[in-house]
Amino acid sequence: MLVLTRRNKEAIMLGDDIKITILEIDNDRIKIGIEAPHATKIMRAELLTEIKNVNREATQTNLGFMQAINDTDTNQNISNNNEKKD
């Protein structure tokens, strides 16, 4: 990992086309401006991690889920009907 230290308003170039500028520093948060070609994917790192997690969890699906949906929905309807009677 390349580590650089920047002050407020200073910038970093990535290649020829991407510019990262520190716009504001405020306690433990900094505002970062990113100028890059339109097609460049830019996202908060934790977003990508979460999407990977969702994809991996999705592959763990048990096919019994359809019956589970039917059972759960039936149970909810039973309790809803009981509530109405009260």
Binding site: H38, A39, K41, I42, M43, R44, L47, L48, E50, I51, K52, N53, V54, N55, R56, E57, A58, T59, T61, N62, L63, F65, M66, A68, I69, N70, T72, D73, T74, N77, I78, N81
Partner: protein
């Protein structure tokens, strides 16, 4: 082509049904070939099955979850998918269906886009939208399935 799957058994598919994901999908970047499996028993969910590894992801149409669903997608993505006509675009949301099914979710913030004419696909991550990566969908799915759900006291038999 014969594909062996633990979820669906052995499947014979036409090679022209194979969709190429040139970047794979997040978490499975090495898997470039997928196809869609439609199972009546699991509607409204369908499946994105990998060719080169035995994994399948349940997918659902995001428009069934949110009728007004309209993520903003850069034109560069449509170029990458070689999309020429709007009707060639299929949009799917990956679903997480845990053992506690009431907690099922769909990823509306990173839909899977497929050009069904060119058989090219890509999962597109949309920053800055209000759509959630884990959008709860249980109530909506129950509503969609209502025709098939047996209610207590009904006369229907298996």
């Amino acid at each position: 082509m014969l594909i062996k799957t633990s979820t669906f058994g052995n499947l014979t598919i036409n090679e022209d049904k194979i969709i190429i994901f040139k970047d794979g999908i997040p978490g499975f970047e090495d898997l470039k070939r997928f196809f869609i499996v439609i199972l009546d028993q699991t509607k409204p969910f369908h499946w994105l099955q990998a060719v080169d590894e035995d994994i399948a992801l349940p997918v659902i149409s995001p428009f069934e979850i949110n009728k007004g669903y309209s993520p903003v997608v850069d034109d560069a993505i449509f170029e990458e998918l070689k999309l020429e006509r709007e009707e060639d675009l299929l949009v799917l949301a990956v679903s997480v269906i845990p053992p506690d099914v009431t907690r099922m979710t769909a990823n509306l913030a990173a839909p899977i886009l497929i050009n069904i004419a060119a058989n090219l696909g890509k999962q597109v991550l949309i920053e800055g939208s209000d759509y959630q990566i884990r959008q709860p969908i249980f109530e909506t799915v129950c509503g969609l399935m209502q025709g098939g759900v047996k209610h207590a006291g009904s006369d229907s038999t298996q």
